[in-house]
Every structure is written in structure tokens, then in C-alpha cells.
Symmetry: C2
Amino acid sequence: MANLGIKDIAALANVSPATVSRVFSAPDMVSKKTLNKVKKVIDEVGYRPNRMGASLRTRKSGNIVAIIPDITNPVNAGIIRAIEQGAQSAGYSVLLGDTQGLEEREQHYADLVSHGQADGILLFCSRIPFKTDPNKSLLEQLPPMVNGNERIDSDEVVQVAVDNVAAAKSAIDYLISLGHKRIAAITGPDDIASSNERLEGYQLALKEAGIELDSALQLEGDYVVESGMDCASQLLLLPQRPTAIFCFNDDMAIGVMKFLQKQGFVVPDDISVMGFDDINYAKYVTPSLTTVHQPLNEIGSTCIELLLKQLKGQVVEPGRRYLPFELKLRGSTGKAPK
Amino acid sequence: MANLGIKDIAALANVSPATVSRVFSAPDMVSKKTLNKVKKVIDEVGYRPNRMGASLRTRKSGNIVAIIPDITNPVNAGIIRAIEQGAQSAGYSVLLGDTQGLEEREQHYADLVSHGQADGILLFCSRIPFKTDPNKSLLEQLPPMVNGNERIDSDEVVQVAVDNVAAAKSAIDYLISLGHKRIAAITGPDDIASSNERLEGYQLALKEAGIELDSALQLEGDYVVESGMDCASQLLLLPQRPTAIFCFNDDMAIGVMKFLQKQGFVVPDDISVMGFDDINYAKYVTPSLTTVHQPLNEIGSTCIELLLKQLKGQVVEPGRRYLPFELKLRGSTGKAPK
DNA sequence: TAAAATTTTGTAATCGATTACTTAATTTTT
DNA sequence: AAAAATTAAGTAATCGATTACAAAATTTTA
């Protein structure tokens, strides 16, 4: 069964191709009688309009591409799920661009737009994957795009995220309120904007509380469990150990706890541990992990909403939009030991 | 800057559109001299060939669609990552079809193929999302497709998975070897084929060991942590408690452990707990979780490989391909108490 | 009921590439 | 150096829809 095209349907129903097209795109422009006639033919032969044909003419692919560093990261997966949902109900499909953090791949996926294979970009990385002309304003060079969860250093980009500075600060404020003074931070890689923002919040909170910064308490991790373990072991070797460790994601916090426990420390009695993200398993480790909750669903749905707006031709004010974080106080943090 | 098309490039370079086309698709069919001439124009004006135009003509979209019940499930995410990798390096893009388990959505995504928006399907569900004509053979009605990780009841479909029967059986064999006789199973929803297969393996192992099946020890869960907790509480109410609990995924096993511990039981001294999947966090819960490892990367890469083969026009023998599972013996299982 | 207004349908150009086929240019053979 | 063989380039049809515009049919108005 060679696939039938709009012209075949038109012939079978004794109408013009234009009419068949209108049956789909503007059914109330065609009379009841012909509408039924055409519809009948359509489902008799099982006709499906070819999207490539339409896309070529309309210059809309109906796809958006989501560029993310790693889909196995539960934070990203949660966001993507919400995006997929929103896109689907607006008639869009989502192209998954898992980059493994490689710039080359970020560009590859961004290029889908210039090839007409996608109409817009949801970007979860901290660099702009285009060669841009520094003479012109960014705004007029970018395709419809929303930057989510990460930070791009430009106020001409539409951005959606949690206020990482404020979130980290409020995490540290909480630890300080428990009496902690020696508070370590295990950061993410230093080319990740959100990690740097969290670091800023950490330092801000300590300064405000009049606690001196100690660079020995600031370690760079890479967001995986093992790296939490490594950093924890370094911290334990310090002449003056921290009484609390704030990790910039939950995975590292889990690694820290695991390592401390292996060494015979009791969390939180000896050392408090705090994470960031509030992944599902944070509740179920032992002790349950105190952490900063990120509203993944809301992040995802806001991103897609703002992108869809742009795709409809509406103007979206560039700049950052902050979504509310929430401290989840659980079992891994407690009063500072004296 | 209105976007330039192949004709514009041809005009600028003083060649025919055919030649420009060949610069991309068959560069060694064009002479060095013209090749350079055309290439120069191409990157002077930043020309990007429009994929819709090409797709329309070639009837290949360059997309494949991955239909999965839930991207936030780490098992699915791991598989998808491998798929994305393989697809990308073969020049394909992946459309993400997260269905939330809804048949309607499965169909929606499968339809992308009949609309020419995707060339093939990677299906991780246990039903075929097409209306099929029972008179003809399935084989000739299906588009290029691979069914992964789940089971479809037809030997005309290309399938890739772990042998769930054997995997579950060997899990139970192991528990039996530790002296357990009262072994509970917490299954997945009963419309999930893989769950039913695991159940089969469970029952098979018990029978072979001459242990009588006890329907009170077989509870249906739904693969989330809370459901593990619920089922655990039911099992504890039994007059004769199990000494080991085999959960059909790790999340439920984590829930079971958490609940048992809350009730003051010691895992594994009082009750052993075993999971299935070997998600990343299985290693990091306390005690670490004994489970059945699924080779996510290999599942994903095998799926995409078999699909790409079909897309290249090669014939792929339908039927199941089993990938090796592995028992991960960790801290949550131990000798049966006497 | 004829004219005007409105609704419905049709015609044909168009989107941007690919490719079978033809023609032109170049190289090889004799 | 002419003929044959090979390589390079061009011509024009084609993929399947959409849509501006024109024409026909229908309804409303006077």
C-alpha cells in the first residue's frame, strides 16, 4: 500500500487538495457536507498527512529540542518530564539532546534549529551554543529559547531557575542557627554557573554571621557520589574538622554520609550533612537527608510555557525568573556538638 | 537576513543546485576546484541545508522515537542515555515519548512514524501501539521497531531484554541457598509483562526447591517506594512472617527496608531484602541493597543498534535477545534466622 | 427576483532539497 | 590526434503539504 497523499484523497473525495487541507487546519471553513465526505474518505483509506510536507511549507517543524547535560541525573529527568508533558499537549514533540557536558554536542543540538529540524531550544547548560556576532545584540541573534536551571551570564536570555544564592544562603543560615561555625562546602565543578552561585550564597551567609571563611573547608566535587566520599575523607584529615558539611547536590551528600558512617562517625551527632536538590532518595537514605528542594515540575513547566509563548510569536521579557526553593529539614542535620 | 537556500548558494557559487547538494552528500563526485569554491560560499554566508526539504524528498526524517513509560525512572533514563548516544553518532535524533503509562500517548508517539516525523520506534512498553490487521502478519505491518526491556507477546517483534524469569529464579535460588524458606515477593502491576515474568521465576525457583507456594507471601506493588512500605507492613502482620522479601524493583526494596527498620527490625539479621535493577542508589542505602543488575547501557545500545540496522534496510531476525543480568550480593541479605 | 454580500471551493505557486537522466568536460587508450 | 571511456556538472521533475488569490455557489438584502 503505497502511502496516499493529499492529492489522492482529494481525487477520491472529488474535491481539491486545498479543501482536504482545510479539513484539518480550518474545518469550519468547509461546509458540513463536504467535510463529512472528505472525512469519510480519510478514514476509509487511513490517510495521515505528512508532516514533512507541511513543515516545509510552513517553516515550522513542530519540534523543540531540550539540551541537557545528562538525562540520568534525576533533577534533569524530572524537569524533562514536565517539559515533555507541556510540549505534547501543545502539539509539539521533544527532541532529546543529552550532551554529556560536551560543548560540541551542545552545538550539534542547537544546530537543529538552523537546520529547520526544531523550532526552539530549551537549554540547561551554562554557555550559549552559538557563534554569536558581538556587534549585534544577543536578543536578535537567538532563536526562541529558554535557559533553565543553569545560569547564562546575559540579561538578554530568558531564564528560569531557583535563586541559588538565596537557597544556599538559607541552607547555611539554618546550619548556623543550629550552632555550627565550622561549615564545609563541597561544590560542583567550577565551570557550572549554578555551583558558583551556591558558593556565593554559602560565603555570604558566613560573612553575615561574622564567621571567617576558611578555604580548607571549600572543596570542589563533581556531583557524583564517589566525589562526596573523596571530599569527606579530605575533610576528616583536617586538623580542625568541620561540624557540618553542605554539599551542592544530594548525590555528594549521600557519599559524604556513607563515608562518615564507614569511619564510625554518627550523622548528625558528630557531623551534620546537608544536600541540595531533594531527589526522591534523599528521604530514604539513613538518616534521611536534610536538603534544599527544587521544584522540578514547576521549573520544567515554566520553561516550556515561556518557550511556547515565544513560538506563538508573543514577546517574552528576557531576564531571570526565580522559582521558590524550600528547605527540607530531615534527619541528617542537628545541633553542633560542643 | 532571510535564510538562504540551496539555489541561492548555487547562484553565488556559479554552479547548479545539484552540485551544491553533492558537496554534502557525495563530495567525491565533485572536483576539488568546485568543491572548494562551493564550500567557500557556504561558510561565507553560513548556509545550513534545510532538513525538511531533504526529508520531504528522501522520505526520511532522521528521527527515531523512544516510547517509554517514565523518564524519571532511573532504569529508563539509563537506557535512553545509551540510545541517544548511539542515535546521535549515526546521525539520528531522538524524539522523547514519555507516556506516563497511558495507551493513548503510546499511540500518539507511534503515530509520528505514520506522519513521517520519525523513521523508527524504540518501544519500552508491553503492548503494540497500532491498530493491526489480524489477517496479515504482524511483521509486514510494523515499521522499523525494537521492543526493549519489556515483553510483547509475539515472536514477530524484535525484542531486547534481560531474561526476567531466569534472573528472578537466580535471585530466589540465592536466597534459598542462604537457608530461607519463607520468601515473599512484592511484584509490579499485573499488566506489566516483565513483572509477570519475574513472578514466574520466583515460583519456579520455589517449586524446584520443593517449597510450597503461599499466596499470602505474594503481594502486588506498583514500583514506588511507598508501595514497598505498604507491602512490608502487610507482611509483618502475617501469622508466619517471611524471612526474606524479594522486591521486583529497587525502589520498593528501599521502601521495605525503611519500613522494617522503622519497626525495629534489623536487615538482614531478622529479615533479608533483595531488589531488582541495581539502580545507582542501591549501593548507598543502609545496608547496601542486594539486587539483580540490569545492563542498562547494553540494553540501550543493543536496541538502537538493531533499529539502525533495520533503518539501513538490513533484515533483523525477529524474536527475543537476552542480555546477561548479574546478581549483586550486598549487605541487605544474610543467612536465614533459625 | 436581481444585486450585493457572504460562504465555499478551486487553481496554481511555493517551501528546499534530491536524483534520474542528459550533456559537457576531461582523461585514457590506440 | 581521434575515439572511447571516464568523470564532472547541469536540467528539471519530484516529494506533500499550505495558502494567496480567483472563481463559483449560496445566502442575504432591497
